[in-house]
Symmetry: C2
Subunit: 186 residues, 2 copies
DNA sequence: GTTATTATAACGACTGGTCTATATAACGTC
DNA sequence: GACGTTATATAGACCAGTCGTTATAATAAC
């Protein structure tokens, strides 16, 4: 399989997670990934929008998988989600507050600017919500509650990451974990 | 007082709310605001970082005020916050999903890139958290709970706005309102 | 006449995107 | 295996346009 293509996509994910869509230039992707610029338009003939859409989707899939794996360690959904969010807090901290929420910045910047990227973001977020939802279903929540809480958890975690990155502290995420557990335990 | 200066700041707020820091050019600010271009570096001699920092802080103050006013209509904090978030959902929808969360995109893009803008974002978010916190204090929550829930609500609302703008639907925010009320009512 | 404000043009650096040339791999045919 | 042929992939110079910024000149206000 193509190595350069994967490299370009992964680099795009990392850079856009840190600095968003408009803050990430193609030249920077090329430079950081080590891939030649000729390859960029060979693999992604439709340019930056295509690269971004694929990167967003890849991020979504990877994150959804991490959610599934993270939640599988504990059968109790409330406890599992609580611990999972604590892990995110550590991850955000250890990245120097550059990582966490690979979708947020891109989603906000492009919500009304690129139909194509927005569509990819929607798809990616649905993957995350579904990952939480399925854990809740397994734990006995009704279908409606599992779906709504999947949305609620996703929103709270996203917001917690924003605050943690802004404050340069994992504590907002830890607070989010604490009260989400309260809500899910009742 | 200077009209052009205020115009520039307000336009910067609006544009960055929609498309973030890197997605907003100074030329676009000048064009959109109608302010004379020469004035830009006259009023903001330290350039884009200065304009952005001031715009972020102005956004924070305006949003905190809107929170205070929005919550004052109902003495019950849980109900007041619920209704307030429903209003945000309407606002996001009626803006065509371009408005809501004036800080998010900028905060994420610059969390590790500009100390100055990051500092302004931190200050702005603290204003929002404090606005919620004070309503909770009035409603009888302990100081610690009011503080933590202020953070939690801010995170959930931010995340809800992201999802609503991405999905082009106010419903994620309405779901957030519903379960926040559950949490605050117990 | 001094200061505050606005106008204009230009700067170097960088943007996303295109182009041509070259190298490498893949594959059927002898 | 060896050959020529065709796709795939790498390499980077190059384009017009925009970026944030600066310098200088003109104008307005007091």
């Amino acid at each position: 399989m193509s190595n350069a293509r994967e490299h370009i996509l992964q680099t795009t994910c990392d850079l856009m997670e840190k600095q968003g869509y408009y803050g990430t230039g193609l030249n920077e992707i090329v430079k950081e990934s080590g891939a030649p610029k000729g390859s960029l338009y060979h693999y992604f003939p439709e340019g930056k929008e295509q690269i971004t859409s694929e990167a967003v989707l890849q991020s979504g899939k990877a994150t959804a998988e991490r959610i599934q794996n993270g939640l599988s360690s504990n059968s109790n959904a409330a406890k599992a989600i609580h611990d999972f969010i604590l892990n995110i807090a550590d991850h955000v901290e250890s990245s120097g507050f550059a990582a966490g929420s690979p979708l947020t910045a891109v989603a906000m910047e492009t919500a009304t600017k690129s139909e194509r990227i927005n569509s990819a973001c929607r798809e990616a977020y649905t993957l995350l919500e579904t990952a939480f939802k399925e854990k809740l279903l397994e734990s006995g929540f009704t279908k409606l509650k599992a779906e709504e809480l999947g949305t609620f958890i996703t929103a709270t975690v996203e917001g917690g990451i924003i605050l943690s990155r802004t404050y340069h502290s994992g504590n907002p995420l830890r607070t989010a974990a604490k009260y989400l557990k309260v809500l899910l335990s009742q």
